[in-house]
């Protein structure tokens, strides 16, 4: 597709469950980013990949959060033992070289 694609668009889960969120970046974009946007707030940086490796994961809130990008394209954000405070919209973005970031529509996670 032409833009950054994220699935699922909505995910409702129960506290304690495991969740995976997927991001398919724009073709040819080497850098991929995950941000989290809580209600009424601006997005907050979680992790950034350059190619297959995580170049900066300083925004991941704790060790329940993990992300991979095994082939340098699609990325998966994994959340273990979800908590109600994890409820947010998870945004993925990609870019080519040092250009501007293009954001996907986001995955809205609700933890009951």
């Amino acid at each position: 597709g032409a833009g950054v694609s994220q699935t699922p668009s909505n995910k409702v889960t129960e506290k304690g469950k495991y969740v995976e969120l997927r991001c398919d970046p724009i073709s040819g974009h080497t850098a991929l980013y995950w941000y989290r946007q809580s209600l009424g707030q601006g997005p907050e940086f979680l992790i950034y990949f350059q190619g297959t490796g995580a170049a900066d994961d300083s925004g991941l809130p704790n060790d329940r959060f993990f992300a991979v990008r095994p082939e340098g394209s699609v990325s998966t954000l994994k959340i273990q033992r979800t908590e109600r405070g994890d409820s947010a919209v998870y945004l993925c973005a990609s870019r080519r070289d040092a250009g501007e970031l293009f954001f996907g529509e986001g995955s809205r996670l609700t933890v009951l």
Partner: protein
């Protein structure tokens, strides 16, 4: 820790009026973005400002950057209802060798703009 502050956070305008949204930030950076977000939607890039004194205009919106004052402004001219949305500024503070940015943006809280007839 980089702080990015927008004001106002809420802005109610009448159609046809002008107003300015301010974005202050706390660290050295010469790369700043403005985004628009409609309810339930993702972020739409409006402007990328890459140097001190940069000014960009698109339709009724104009953005500027003063890196010495660590201030960016988004000016709205003759507002129309279609401009109602939330506007975010975002600063990229990581300028590596050769001026490369890492894209690790810090966003402001957002300004919720409502334009009334």
């Amino acid at each position: 820790e980089l702080k990015v502050e927008q004001n106002p956070l809420f802005l109610s305008m009448q159609e046809g009026k002008n107003y300015t949204i301010y974005c202050n930030y706390s660290t050295t950076s010469d790369r700043l973005y403005w985004y628009r977000q409609d309810p339930g939607k993702s972020l739409e890039s409006l402007f990328v400002l890459l140097s001190n004194g940069a000014v960009k205009q698109e339709g009724r919106l104009m953005a500027s950057l003063d890196t010495k004052a660590r201030l960016s402004t988004l000016h709205i001219t003759a507002a129309v209802h279609d401009l109602s949305a939330t506007y975010f500024c975002a600063v990229d503070p990581n300028i590596g060798a050769g001026g490369t940015s890492y894209g690790k943006l810090t966003f402001g809280q957002g300004t919720i703009l409502t334009v009334h007839p």
